[in-house]
Subunit: 379 residues, 4 copies
Amino acid sequence: MSKKKLNVGIIGYGFMGRTHSNAFRTVNNFFDLEYEPVLKAVCARDGGKAKAFAEQWGYESVETDWKKLIARKDIDLIDIASPNNTHARIAEAAAAAGKMILCEKPLAMNGPQAEAMVKAVEKAKAPNMVWYNYRRVPAVTLAKQLIDEGRLGRIFHYRAKFLQDWTISKDLPQGGAGLWRLDAKVAGSGVTGDLLAHCIDTSLWLNGPIDKVTAMTETFVKERKHNLSGKVEKVSIDDASAFLARFSNGSLATFESTRYARGHKALYTFEINGEHASIFWDLHDLHRLQYFDHRDEGLTRGWRSLHITDSDHPYMKHWWVPGLQIGYEHTFVHQVADFLAGLSTGKPVSPTFREALETQKICDAVLASAKSGQWTNVG
Amino acid sequence: MSKKKLNVGIIGYGFMGRTHSNAFRTVNNFFDLEYEPVLKAVCARDGGKAKAFAEQWGYESVETDWKKLIARKDIDLIDIASPNNTHARIAEAAAAAGKMILCEKPLAMNGPQAEAMVKAVEKAKAPNMVWYNYRRVPAVTLAKQLIDEGRLGRIFHYRAKFLQDWTISKDLPQGGAGLWRLDAKVAGSGVTGDLLAHCIDTSLWLNGPIDKVTAMTETFVKERKHNLSGKVEKVSIDDASAFLARFSNGSLATFESTRYARGHKALYTFEINGEHASIFWDLHDLHRLQYFDHRDEGLTRGWRSLHITDSDHPYMKHWWVPGLQIGYEHTFVHQVADFLAGLSTGKPVSPTFREALETQKICDAVLASAKSGQWTNVG
Amino acid sequence: MSKKKLNVGIIGYGFMGRTHSNAFRTVNNFFDLEYEPVLKAVCARDGGKAKAFAEQWGYESVETDWKKLIARKDIDLIDIASPNNTHARIAEAAAAAGKMILCEKPLAMNGPQAEAMVKAVEKAKAPNMVWYNYRRVPAVTLAKQLIDEGRLGRIFHYRAKFLQDWTISKDLPQGGAGLWRLDAKVAGSGVTGDLLAHCIDTSLWLNGPIDKVTAMTETFVKERKHNLSGKVEKVSIDDASAFLARFSNGSLATFESTRYARGHKALYTFEINGEHASIFWDLHDLHRLQYFDHRDEGLTRGWRSLHITDSDHPYMKHWWVPGLQIGYEHTFVHQVADFLAGLSTGKPVSPTFREALETQKICDAVLASAKSGQWTNVG
Amino acid sequence: MSKKKLNVGIIGYGFMGRTHSNAFRTVNNFFDLEYEPVLKAVCARDGGKAKAFAEQWGYESVETDWKKLIARKDIDLIDIASPNNTHARIAEAAAAAGKMILCEKPLAMNGPQAEAMVKAVEKAKAPNMVWYNYRRVPAVTLAKQLIDEGRLGRIFHYRAKFLQDWTISKDLPQGGAGLWRLDAKVAGSGVTGDLLAHCIDTSLWLNGPIDKVTAMTETFVKERKHNLSGKVEKVSIDDASAFLARFSNGSLATFESTRYARGHKALYTFEINGEHASIFWDLHDLHRLQYFDHRDEGLTRGWRSLHITDSDHPYMKHWWVPGLQIGYEHTFVHQVADFLAGLSTGKPVSPTFREALETQKICDAVLASAKSGQWTNVG
């Protein structure tokens, strides 16, 4: 049965360029889908690097100007994997040109910018999606399923953390190239947009809207050398960001992210405590879900460590056999698979730009609260 | 070598009456000390229960009026293990009578009351101590030692939780007898004074003073039947309490306690992230300390699970052999051992009433902030 | 209600002297029993050490000749906590003198000696018990309960290990005093009798009789200096011992013990796999039981980590509140509590000398098989 | 830079056909190599299934007779992913035809057959390799590196297990199609060749040769219905297999595998205890390595949990960033990467047919010992 080809033009060749490319390239080996992505073009300002990337991944062509890419008739889908400050312009132009759009997270530099992007894609009726990939970790998807089935009952608590330790050294430079995440002009914010945004996106999906927050942020290292200019400059981003929140469903939450938690590489964890059951997940062991059900008989009640590798676990029938785990990159494959399936059904695939806008608004509220010291309503 | 006898009069026969009595009764079997506690008298309003307790534990006599107990010449030390709203009166009277005083935590109903108690014992020069027992978990004491040796370097983050789940059922009554912890008139507050106070005490010991906090509290179940009267009454305590804090040393903190975290019986955990090293501890596996040292060679760097049962670990040479763990009650034995050793040296033993006052002030700030919605300076 | 006094005479003041004394001394604080042990006398050849021990623990008197102790009319119970090569003589004499007898494990130097001891106590109708204390870890007792309820179904596999690492250094001496466990003339064997005996005792209790074994043993360090004489002598004990076994119920087993497993202090673990459910336990976290039940719904099936601190868990209603763990020494308290309760009912309390004889026979078979290289039938 | 094409012809489209195909198809995206595999042909008796597989994975052509595949001039490499009883014929023919050969494990039905295969490939000087993929789990490769650096010192103990639970149900049929692993005529043996072979291969790599073994095997369910004929027939395979072993380096070992260990899906674990350090690994959390180093300072000595996701860990610089784990299939990618790199250097890549022969001999000794009840020398 021959597939419908979907011509992909990707912008950016960095870390996310690799995860997306791998997903486009392998999804049809593991999922039976009507559509098949074709790696048509990669676009980057540095033509040499774009060419090398194209060779590595099998892209058919190279562009150095994203406007030209968007103008190409043979491109169906624009995938934005470039720094945050470029998302809005590209997405709006791509929408206007009638392309489907996938966009790296966070969607935008801030809420208003995100709002405009939502308007653009909705006006264009462009299929769109944001790469909040952690929703598609099978264990996280299973958490969603258990919650939706009502197993947890009334929710009392949500807590999420995203802890890293890679910027502790004072000798680490900031600036251009691979370090744009340390530059607020390019990234929008520090850990709030980079790490907390993931935690927030998952929480909205699992636990519904957040009403208000009170936050604090901190920049531990105040000045760093720029990696290109060599000049010592003020650090513009938040190194750490934590907030208390109240969800609309009445539950209380704590959120925290930092790049100064020694010993943690990418420790995204969340826990949700309900009347009947609780769930815990941890990115460092992403193939496991911890589940406690109070309805178990008392004598043998305890936290269950679920090894999410069975064929009835979300997405897992597409992979190997029970006991054999998958890893990080597979979340992107799942997201592409769902997006392609959505093209067949015509239904939007989550998280859309509109859903990602909600996360952006909460990030804005967090940053505003950290400045004002006040509880701040969302949106 | 014969010991100096120290005659103990204890007030209260509840859960804490048992832990203290066990500590007094066994400390000299395991520690070589100049002093030896003698279980002289137990005092409780219910004479029958007091008598039964005396028989169970070997107390020589029984009182039903704490004033009489304090008036007895053969009592050297008053141990307060009665509900929170009785601490101040008893302690002040005992100090005036020239007794040594041990007091259960939290020290008082609030800061001003605690302040008066501090004045009383300091004026009387009475040896005094508050039963924040978790400082004497060997793993926690080792954490203190590692921090004091400077191994963690500059501290960036502190996070503590104390999670329980025993009040989730709406059918649980509140009120008198064993349930006074659910009555704010007796307990002072809910989880803030009962659970967070432990977290705060440990944090002050490990990480120094807290400058300011912003907090939220919640009462999930608004009304409960009184266990004696049978009347449905408004719930007066906080079921959950969480706050963000800034320590004087520049580190950021999150604290949370609740009795609505399904799956957790008494999950007190703390983690502290420093420039060089991090520490994690968990009451549910209290004999372990998790330690990460970034100065380890990269290839084999990881979180170390220390089994705190070696003779060079704090307190452990007094117990068994490596690999054989001790439990909860031993923390009280350690605290008595240290108190008795302090009598020999004449040095105050931590935490004194003055140190516990600091915790009380922070609890007050937390409750005030939860009401006002504002960042609140401590004391 | 006044208790019946039970006068205890203990022989030995070493590590086991301490664990037993603590059990006798505290059991009535936590358990309501008709009988109350009285620490009447401690006996040891070194009168000075015996006296110091008596003072530390509150023994009323001291003996230096165990025959005199046995001859005393005011002694009801002889507790044998002296080296293995003394057990038989003492137990036989005590039985003849009409005493109750508790004996440290392993019961004897070998099967025939143990057989004679069994005859002696049974002829005398003396209440008797062997200190295989690990049966009374609440988690282990719960395992027994779950198995007896038939929850595991047909048993396929049993595996047990007892791993230590304290004799790896070649500089460790062997010989007298605290090191008699390294001398086969005093200990009977090395890890087979010291460590494997524990594993075997538990397995017989949980899984029934063993039919046959094939074993290997090894002495890694062939010569050591004697700690008293200073002479270098051949090492007489087995440093490591492992065997395959077939249980009468058709299940297969692997057993292993060693003092050369770097990183393990006293890692006694067992796992039992049944048709429906499996159980795992680990002495290093003795307050937990791992339980897997295949009858759980597939989607949320996983190993459950049971925190054995609830009041419906074996023995735990006598201690603290959920979440607060007990430790190693409590197993001895439980064993005394059961023994005392058995005196009231008149029923033998497990493990009796007769049950411990079975373990001795298996140890003999293991050592014989290690020598012959053949599968060896038990007893 | 254009790559040298390596035309692959694969035989078999089952589970292993998928893992190999994925490896061939993605290796060049992540590794910079001179060679590039081309998915030239898939061969299977069932032409329809072969065609579907070719479409799924992008194979250019289909064969239904492996002799024709081997005869094709445009095929450089024959990859054998068909049942065990076909390996020898195919490999010998492929070697005679001058092809490179990759072969699934176990190499053969038994030692003599494997021996003939070794002769064939060595005579033909055919590059050859066997898919013992677990050597290339980064954590396992790191274990090898740490051992080769001498960090563990003298080795005392090796223990390995491979536990599954998928054949416990008596209703599971045996026989053809996907169930050939339950038929000794096709598989050679049961868990010995399927699971223990993995444990043995790793152990030989990490700990050197095994001298002798004593073993037991069991078939718990004696009869099963054939899935095609419907007839109830005797079960021919071993359901469980365990053995004791002595390595040439003087260390003792226990090995066990079963498909009757309730709760374990594919729990391959090994532990190795050395004089100075110990290592533990577990397939269910394959991205972690547990490491204990006695040379660490005593106070903070403990088992380290290494999260094998850093760029200096084996293979990991080719994947994502620290903290983000890879999974099962990547082991095959690594093995292809190493094989292709070996073509460039001309050096054999481990494990070769000759190395896999050693594993076969040990499997033979295990099965022989289980029958005879005697210690059996290897090979």
